[in-house]
């Protein structure tokens, strides 16, 4: 027991401090290479380094390898490979812009190690009603989960600090749920995701010093998806992610096709006092941000706070669901 507690503390420290220490170096390197993008919501339109994905990936790999040294399991290898492949997809998309179908298809391919390494169980567990075995459908589900979680986190990465802050809340809720459901091995393996997100949030929060980019958002989203599969907590994971799921759902039901977010009209506009407001453009998609702004113009910090409140609400529902998994009616 003592060994396990030491391991938990050690991997949490490795995850947090590797990102905390490496990110300032990454910021300077990106600035030197002129790899920056304009922050349109900021007064003066500051140029922000992007992508922060490399420091996120280093944090995840360093902590998962540390965990592997103590408890060598296939699950950890699966997390490392799938997350790394999703990072590669993201870094390609950061450098070159592809069509809307590139990311879902490439992320689906990055989910294949989960199948080849046999690190899954085809039971899908629901609260109160038990689980059901679906060998045929579950393989398809694996292929779908990683693109969904990756793109969902990517689509919510629209304001300073949202993707990393949201992922911090959702992943800690997932870890708590895994502990409640007594899936200790995966619960420990999921800890780095929360600590890496938290450390990155320090630089990503308003006013951002770095943006995660597709490589950062897809890495975080893909790791979240892998943990959901390996820990048999797909439903709990989906519930913790509900605000981001609503964002994607609203977007897809208004655009009615899979499209790269850079190719669509911005659903918001900036007022003269640098507040954000919903645009009156009929062709702009409906998103979570646009719904929040329907109440009136808000500062970026105020919107981020609303999104975090929604994330905390969903995280609470996810934890309640984890408790309900132990009850059968």
């Amino acid at each position: 027991m003592f060994d396990q507690i030491v391991t938990v503390i050690l991997i949490s420290i490795v995850a947090f401090f590797s990102v905390y220490v490496i990110t300032p170096f990454l910021i300077r390197t990106l600035e030197k290479r002129n790899l920056t993008v304009k922050d349109y919501h900021r007064k003066g339109g500051a140029m922000i380094p992007r992508p922060g994905g490399p420091s996120i990936l280093i944090g995840i790999i360093a902590s998962e390898i540390t965990l592997y040294a103590f408890f060598p399991t296939t699950a950890i290898i699966t997390i490392i490979i799938t997350t790394s492949l999703a990072f590669v997809v993201g870094i390609i998309d950061d450098r070159w812009t592809f069509g809307g179908w590139f990311k879902p298809l490439a992320l689906a391919a990055s989910a294949t190690p989960i199948i080849f390494l046999g690190a899954y169980d085809s039971n899908l567990a629901f609260p109160l009603f038990g689980s059901f075995k679906i060998p045929a459908l579950y393989l398809a589900l694996i292929i779908f989960i990683i693109p969904i979680t990756g793109n969902t986190i990517n689509s919510i990465d629209v304001l300073n600090g949202v993707a990393s802050g949201f992922m911090t809340i959702a992943s800690f809720a997932l870890t708590i749920s895994l502990f409640i459901m007594q899936h200790y091995e995966i619960a420990v393996a999921s800890l780095p995701l929360g600590f890496v997100s938290l450390a990155f949030y320090k630089y990503h929060k308003f006013p951002s010093k770095i943006f995660p980019g597709d490589s950062g958002a897809l890495t975080l989203g893909a790791m979240y998806g892998v943990i959901a599969i390996l820990g048999h907590v797909e439903i709990v994971a989906a519930i913790a992610l509900l605000p981001a799921v609503i964002n994607s759902f609203l977007f897809l039901s208004s655009v009615k096709r899979v499209v790269e977010h850079r190719q669509i009209k911005n659903p918001t506009a900036v007022t003269s006092d640098f507040k954000l407001m919903a645009t009156s453009d009929k062709d702009a998609p409906i998103t979570l941000l646009r719904l929040i702004l329907a109440a009136g113009p808000m500062t970026e910090k105020q919107i981020v706070l609303v999104i975090f409140k929604l994330a905390l609400f969903s995280a609470s529902l996810a934890i309640i669901t984890a408790f309900m998994m132990g009850i059968k009616i």
């Binding site: 629901f126 609260p127 109160l128 009603f129 038990g130 689980s131 059901f132 075995k133 679906i134 060998p135 045929a136 459908l137 398809a140 439903i235 989906a238 519930i239 509900l242 605000p243 799921v245 609503i246 759902f249 609203l250 039901s253 919903a278 409906i286 979570l288 719904l291 929040i292 329907a294 109440a295 009136g296 609303v306 929604l310 609400f313 969903s314 529902l317 669901t321 309900m324």
Partner: protein
């Protein structure tokens, strides 16, 4: 609490997930295919495909219901 329609929508989605899960488990647990093929694993495979089809149909119904609820809850906000 200007945004509590969104909180309510999240809560409704949560309830729908729990009810949908219950229906899925209830419908699929009734399925077992026997007597048509002689090899055991193949029977399981066919049962799995049948379960998958039911699950997909239920998900489509779930998304349809959710879309209707979304339109009803966010009608005013979307119109603005």
């Amino acid at each position: 609490m200007k945004n509590y329609t969104i909180f309510s929508f999240i809560f409704v989605m949560w309830i729908l997930i729990i009810i949908g899960g219950g229906l899925l488990v209830a419908f699929t647990s009734m399925i077992s295919i026997e007597g048509y093929v002689t090899v055991g694993p193949l029977e399981l495979y066919y049962a799995s495909i049948a379960k998958a089809l039911i699950a997909i149909i239920l998900v489509i119904i779930w998304v349809y219901v959710l879309t209707k609820i979304k339109n009803w809850m966010f009608h005013k906000k979307i119109k603005n």
